[in-house]
Protein backbone atom coordinates (compact mmCIF):
# COMPACT_ATOMS: atom_id res chain seq x y z
CA UNK A 1 0.00 0.00 0.00
CA UNK A 2 1.42 3.37 -0.98
CA UNK A 3 0.07 6.55 0.59
CA UNK A 4 1.82 9.82 -0.16
CA UNK A 5 0.87 13.41 0.70
CA UNK A 6 3.27 15.74 -1.02
CA UNK A 7 3.94 19.28 -2.21
CA UNK A 8 5.75 18.20 -5.37
CA UNK A 9 4.20 17.52 -8.76
CA UNK A 10 4.20 13.92 -9.97
CA UNK A 11 3.76 12.05 -13.20
CA UNK A 12 0.62 9.89 -13.42
CA UNK A 13 1.99 7.61 -16.15
CA UNK A 14 5.12 6.87 -14.17
CA UNK A 15 3.06 6.20 -11.05
CA UNK A 16 0.72 3.88 -12.96
CA UNK A 17 3.64 1.90 -14.38
CA UNK A 18 5.39 1.64 -11.01
CA UNK A 19 2.18 0.51 -9.35
CA UNK A 20 1.57 -2.08 -12.03
CA UNK A 21 5.16 -3.35 -12.12
CA UNK A 22 4.98 -4.70 -8.57
CA UNK A 23 1.63 -6.50 -8.99
CA UNK A 24 1.79 -10.29 -8.85
CA UNK A 25 -1.66 -11.64 -9.62
CA UNK A 26 -4.17 -8.90 -10.45
CA UNK A 27 -6.18 -8.92 -13.65
CA UNK A 28 -7.72 -5.49 -13.18
CA UNK A 29 -6.20 -2.09 -12.46
CA UNK A 30 -8.29 1.05 -12.07
CA UNK A 31 -6.82 4.52 -11.69
CA UNK A 32 -8.39 7.89 -11.03
CA UNK A 33 -6.59 11.20 -11.56
CA UNK A 34 -8.03 14.52 -10.43
CA UNK A 35 -6.94 17.69 -12.20
CA UNK A 36 -7.41 21.41 -11.51
CA UNK A 37 -10.37 22.75 -13.50
CA UNK A 38 -10.90 26.28 -14.70
CA UNK A 39 -13.46 28.58 -13.02
CA UNK A 40 -15.72 31.28 -14.52
CA UNK A 41 -13.65 34.46 -14.72
CA UNK A 42 -10.43 32.49 -14.98
CA UNK A 43 -8.24 30.74 -12.46
CA UNK A 44 -4.81 32.00 -11.35
CA UNK A 45 -4.18 28.96 -9.15
CA UNK A 46 -5.71 26.77 -6.51
CA UNK A 47 -4.26 26.33 -3.08
CA UNK A 48 -4.73 23.11 -1.16
CA UNK A 49 -4.41 23.19 2.59
CA UNK A 50 -4.25 20.02 4.66
CA UNK A 51 -3.82 18.87 8.25
CA UNK A 52 -0.34 17.34 8.48
CA UNK A 53 -0.39 14.27 10.66
CA UNK A 54 -4.11 13.70 10.47
CA UNK A 55 -4.14 13.54 6.65
CA UNK A 56 -2.02 10.40 6.40
CA UNK A 57 -3.95 8.75 9.25
CA UNK A 58 -7.30 9.51 7.62
CA UNK A 59 -6.19 8.18 4.22
CA UNK A 60 -4.76 5.07 5.86
CA UNK A 61 -8.05 4.41 7.58
CA UNK A 62 -9.98 4.77 4.30
CA UNK A 63 -7.58 2.44 2.48
CA UNK A 64 -7.78 -0.18 5.23
CA UNK A 65 -11.56 -0.04 5.07
CA UNK A 66 -11.42 -0.58 1.29
CA UNK A 67 -9.16 -3.62 1.80
CA UNK A 68 -11.67 -5.09 4.23
CA UNK A 69 -14.57 -4.61 1.84
CA UNK A 70 -13.00 -5.78 -1.41
CA UNK A 71 -10.36 -8.32 -2.34
CA UNK A 72 -7.58 -6.04 -3.46
CA UNK A 73 -3.98 -6.83 -4.23
CA UNK A 74 -2.83 -3.25 -3.76
CA UNK A 75 -3.88 0.38 -3.33
CA UNK A 76 -2.10 3.63 -4.08
CA UNK A 77 -3.10 7.16 -3.02
CA UNK A 78 -1.08 10.26 -3.88
CA UNK A 79 -2.48 13.67 -2.92
CA UNK A 80 -0.76 17.01 -3.35
CA UNK A 81 -1.09 20.17 -1.30
CA UNK A 82 0.13 23.73 -1.88
CA UNK A 83 -0.28 25.83 -5.03
CA UNK A 84 -1.47 24.22 -8.26
CA UNK A 85 -2.23 25.70 -11.67
CA UNK A 86 -5.04 24.90 -14.10
CA UNK A 87 -4.72 21.41 -15.56
CA UNK A 88 -2.22 20.27 -12.94
CA UNK A 89 -2.70 16.94 -11.25
CA UNK A 90 -4.17 17.25 -7.74
CA UNK A 91 -4.27 13.61 -6.83
CA UNK A 92 -4.29 10.08 -8.11
CA UNK A 93 -5.45 6.74 -6.78
CA UNK A 94 -5.07 3.22 -8.12
CA UNK A 95 -6.61 -0.10 -7.13
CA UNK A 96 -5.59 -3.57 -8.28
CA UNK A 97 -7.82 -6.61 -7.96
CA UNK A 98 -8.53 -9.97 -9.47
CA UNK A 99 -11.75 -8.80 -11.10
CA UNK A 100 -12.82 -5.49 -12.54
CA UNK A 101 -15.87 -4.93 -10.34
CA UNK A 102 -13.72 -5.07 -7.20
CA UNK A 103 -11.18 -2.64 -8.64
CA UNK A 104 -13.87 -0.21 -9.85
CA UNK A 105 -15.94 -0.27 -6.66
CA UNK A 106 -12.91 0.14 -4.41
CA UNK A 107 -11.68 3.08 -6.51
CA UNK A 108 -15.06 4.83 -6.29
CA UNK A 109 -15.23 4.13 -2.57
CA UNK A 110 -11.75 5.63 -2.07
CA UNK A 111 -12.67 8.73 -4.05
CA UNK A 112 -15.95 9.25 -2.22
CA UNK A 113 -14.26 9.02 1.15
CA UNK A 114 -11.14 11.00 0.24
CA UNK A 115 -13.39 13.83 -0.94
CA UNK A 116 -15.31 14.16 2.32
CA UNK A 117 -13.28 12.46 5.05
CA UNK A 118 -9.65 13.34 4.40
CA UNK A 119 -8.63 16.77 5.75
CA UNK A 120 -7.95 18.73 2.56
CA UNK A 121 -9.42 22.11 1.65
CA UNK A 122 -9.25 23.76 -1.77
CA UNK A 123 -9.14 27.50 -2.34
CA UNK A 124 -9.74 28.73 -5.88
CA UNK A 125 -7.75 31.89 -6.50
CA UNK A 126 -9.20 33.62 -9.55
CA UNK A 127 -8.01 36.75 -11.29
CA UNK A 128 -10.78 38.73 -9.59
CA UNK A 129 -11.56 36.91 -6.37
CA UNK A 130 -10.59 33.97 -4.20
CA UNK A 131 -13.00 31.44 -2.70
CA UNK A 132 -12.74 28.38 -0.55
CA UNK A 133 -14.45 25.58 -2.46
CA UNK A 134 -17.70 24.58 -0.73
CA UNK A 135 -18.45 20.96 -0.09
CA UNK A 136 -21.21 19.59 -2.25
CA UNK A 137 -24.32 17.86 -0.95
CA UNK A 138 -23.73 15.32 -3.70
CA UNK A 139 -20.36 14.41 -2.17
CA UNK A 140 -21.87 13.78 1.23
CA UNK A 141 -24.72 11.81 -0.32
CA UNK A 142 -22.23 9.73 -2.32
CA UNK A 143 -21.11 8.18 0.97
CA UNK A 144 -24.55 6.70 1.56
CA UNK A 145 -24.14 4.00 -1.02
CA UNK A 146 -21.28 2.49 1.00
CA UNK A 147 -23.21 2.37 4.25
CA UNK A 148 -23.83 -1.17 5.33
CA UNK A 149 -27.44 -1.81 6.35
Amino acid sequence: MKIVVQLEAFNPGEQLDNFRDQLKSSGALVSFSGMVRDIPGGLAKIKIEHYPGMTEKAINKICNEACLRWELEDIMVIHRFGNLKKGELIMMIATAANHRTNAFEAAEFLMDYLKSRAPFWKKEIGFEKANWVSSKDADEKALNRWKTP
Partner: protein, 83 residues
Amino acid sequence: MRVQVLYFSWVREKVGLPKETIDTEAKTVADLILELCLKDERYKLAFSSLDVIRVALDQELADLSSPMEAVKEVAFFPPMTGG
Protein backbone atom coordinates in the same frame (compact mmCIF):
# COMPACT_ATOMS: atom_id res chain seq x y z
CA MET B 1 -6.72 21.00 31.05
CA ARG B 2 -4.36 22.34 28.41
CA VAL B 3 -5.22 21.67 24.74
CA GLN B 4 -3.69 22.62 21.45
CA VAL B 5 -6.40 24.07 19.18
CA LEU B 6 -5.84 24.11 15.40
CA TYR B 7 -7.85 25.94 12.73
CA PHE B 8 -7.91 25.24 9.01
CA SER B 9 -9.25 26.80 5.81
CA TRP B 10 -11.70 29.68 6.34
CA VAL B 11 -12.05 28.84 10.02
CA ARG B 12 -8.34 29.66 10.35
CA GLU B 13 -8.83 32.87 8.33
CA LYS B 14 -11.78 34.00 10.46
CA VAL B 15 -10.14 33.15 13.78
CA GLY B 16 -6.99 34.84 12.48
CA LEU B 17 -4.47 32.25 13.61
CA PRO B 18 -3.52 28.65 12.71
CA LYS B 19 -3.21 27.37 16.26
CA GLU B 20 -3.14 28.30 19.91
CA THR B 21 -2.82 26.66 23.30
CA ILE B 22 -5.86 26.96 25.54
CA ASP B 23 -6.55 26.15 29.16
CA THR B 24 -10.09 24.93 29.43
CA GLU B 25 -12.50 22.98 31.60
CA ALA B 26 -14.80 22.23 28.64
CA LYS B 27 -16.44 18.79 28.92
CA THR B 28 -17.48 18.60 25.27
CA VAL B 29 -16.47 20.16 21.96
CA ALA B 30 -19.61 22.30 22.11
CA ASP B 31 -18.51 23.63 25.52
CA LEU B 32 -15.14 24.59 24.06
CA ILE B 33 -16.74 26.43 21.13
CA LEU B 34 -18.96 28.36 23.56
CA GLU B 35 -15.93 29.26 25.67
CA LEU B 36 -14.07 30.55 22.59
CA CYS B 37 -17.07 32.55 21.37
CA LEU B 38 -17.36 34.29 24.73
CA LYS B 39 -13.65 35.21 24.54
CA ASP B 40 -13.65 37.15 21.27
CA GLU B 41 -15.83 38.27 18.33
CA ARG B 42 -13.53 36.51 15.82
CA TYR B 43 -14.59 33.12 17.19
CA LYS B 44 -18.27 34.08 17.01
CA LEU B 45 -17.69 34.88 13.34
CA ALA B 46 -15.88 31.60 12.69
CA PHE B 47 -18.45 29.49 14.53
CA SER B 48 -21.59 31.33 13.41
CA SER B 49 -22.88 28.31 11.40
CA LEU B 50 -22.15 25.14 13.29
CA ASP B 51 -23.54 22.96 10.50
CA VAL B 52 -20.46 23.80 8.42
CA ILE B 53 -18.00 23.18 11.26
CA ARG B 54 -16.19 19.88 11.50
CA VAL B 55 -14.01 18.83 14.39
CA ALA B 56 -11.19 16.36 14.98
CA LEU B 57 -10.03 15.23 18.43
CA ASP B 58 -6.44 13.99 18.46
CA GLN B 59 -6.64 13.74 14.67
CA GLU B 60 -9.81 11.61 14.57
CA LEU B 61 -13.09 13.03 13.27
CA ALA B 62 -15.50 13.68 16.12
CA ASP B 63 -18.83 15.39 16.85
CA LEU B 64 -19.69 18.62 18.61
CA SER B 65 -21.06 16.50 21.45
CA SER B 66 -17.89 14.40 21.78
CA PRO B 67 -16.24 14.47 25.24
CA MET B 68 -12.98 16.41 25.60
CA GLU B 69 -11.61 14.10 28.29
CA ALA B 70 -7.88 13.34 27.85
CA VAL B 71 -7.83 15.13 24.49
CA LYS B 72 -4.57 16.90 23.62
CA GLU B 73 -5.30 18.29 20.16
CA VAL B 74 -8.55 19.79 18.85
CA ALA B 75 -8.94 20.93 15.24
CA PHE B 76 -11.78 22.97 13.73
CA PHE B 77 -12.36 23.22 10.00
CA PRO B 78 -15.07 23.37 7.30
CA PRO B 79 -16.34 20.27 5.45
CA MET B 80 -13.44 18.76 3.54
CA THR B 81 -12.99 19.27 -0.19
CA GLY B 82 -10.08 17.07 -1.25
CA GLY B 83 -9.87 14.64 -4.12
